[in-house]
Symmetry: C3
Subunit: 179 residues, 3 copies
């Protein structure tokens, strides 16, 4: 059994595979365990900021709806001047596409990153995964909202996908390695 796998098992079971029998081989690696935590803390930092970014995007969408007077629901339009404002608007649709793309990418990252953090990755390599994804997604949102010329948005999207695919493959590798 690889040490990475044992580390995952330990996390999942909350105790070593053979009761306390393996305590002896665990005692010398407390710093190593702390490193694991450092990776997850790091992940939590970037992922939580990205969730807040998604919330901000929802606020921005609402503001654009009010400013452009373009509401999705008749009841909202009625409250803001009349049914004629129940309509679509290119800027509102743009915000919604940015948000949609976040759902497609940031939500799976929350899952993959959580699992990957406990595969005992090298802390720097792990940080690089999270950081590249984070920067890629921030640039993606900015490129969408301020209409940066193509292909800036697509490139940011693609770059942010690399760490995701890398984490997914490493998770699969760990799973297959168990058999």
């Amino acid at each position: 059994m690889s040490s990475e796998l044992r580390s995952l098992k330990l996390l999942l079971t909350g105790n070593p595979p053979l009761g306390r029998a393996s305590e002896g081989d665990r005692a010398p690696v407390p710093a190593h365990r702390m490193m694991d935590n450092e990776v997850f803390s790091n992940f939590l930092l970037y992922s939580t900021v990205l969730v807040i970014k998604m919330y901000l995007l929802a606020v921005i969408t609402g503001q654009v709806r009010l400013r452009k007077k373009a509401f999705a629901n008749p009841e909202d339009a009625l409250k803001h001047g009349g049914l004629q404002y129940c309509r679509t608007d290119p800027d509102v649709e743009r915000c919604r596409r940015a948000h949609w793309n976040d759902l497609e990418n940031i939500l799976p990252f929350l899952f993959l990153g959580s699992i990957y953090s406990f595969l005992d990755p090298d802390p720097f390599i792990a940080w690089l995964h999270f950081f590249i994804f984070f920067v890629g997604r921030i640039i993606h949102t900015i490129a969408y909202l301020v209409k940066l010329r193509a292909p800036i948005r697509s490139v940011a999207y693609t770059i942010a996908q690399f760490p995701c695919v890398s984490m997914a493959l490493q998770i699969l590798w760990e799973v297959i390695d168990t058999w």
Copy 2:
């Protein structure tokens, strides 16, 4: 190191930071640990019911499509009377917007709530976070489906966001507190 942080570390590593050395200071707090579990159980109750609510929304959308004869795909329309029924319908779109809004809000809640549950929050305060979100989202869905007058839906949405932002900030605070 704060006790909240130690609690998170303990969860993440599955063993105390210094092997069994810190067992002494952990032994007296079993009830405290159980409280942690109580918070997560509580979170699981509300989050799972909200996931079931999302599934119900999908069923409702399907029923409205059948009743209004408004299908998104030609192959579905063909099966239910002809290609002329491959069309949009305001009530179907309303269901889809309600569902979209759930994806934007309930899915990040599943992540934030899971992490927050292990930051050793006060059980009552934690329950309040989950309960406010839960009630806000239930009212949001009802307001959407039965077309309650504005701004009931928006107010429910906004109120449900408060515990989410609060949990996100507390997670960030814990992470930053580690450095």
Copy 3:
């Protein structure tokens, strides 16, 4: 307290409820713990492949956009021949609906499956849950993309929902069982 619940508590707290007092009754079940891990490994296999499938769907959507010359953003259309290509296309919309449906179903599965894996389910029953969902979602995507006749897609969707609802109810059952 049921053994399933104790197993969940153990996971959540990282130590048994009464300090090391209950170590005695845990020592004889290491193989049982490994089974728990096996369930989660199994879950990780299917869920990660489904996440990769979602990523592939995004790539396919992009390819269809390029081939059909149908872009969502003016800046993309400009780069590929002119603003007239900022338009919708039935095949692109089809890809997006398939992706939307994945978000609605695969993302909640990531949550429910993670929790369910630690409720100490029978490994075969658990595998059956994951496998049915996996096959259902793969058929759903294929049926969407190659336009299989109705109701193949709807049947695949419905079959994939069964294990999800089953897992949700089992989670609720465990939570309610605690009180």
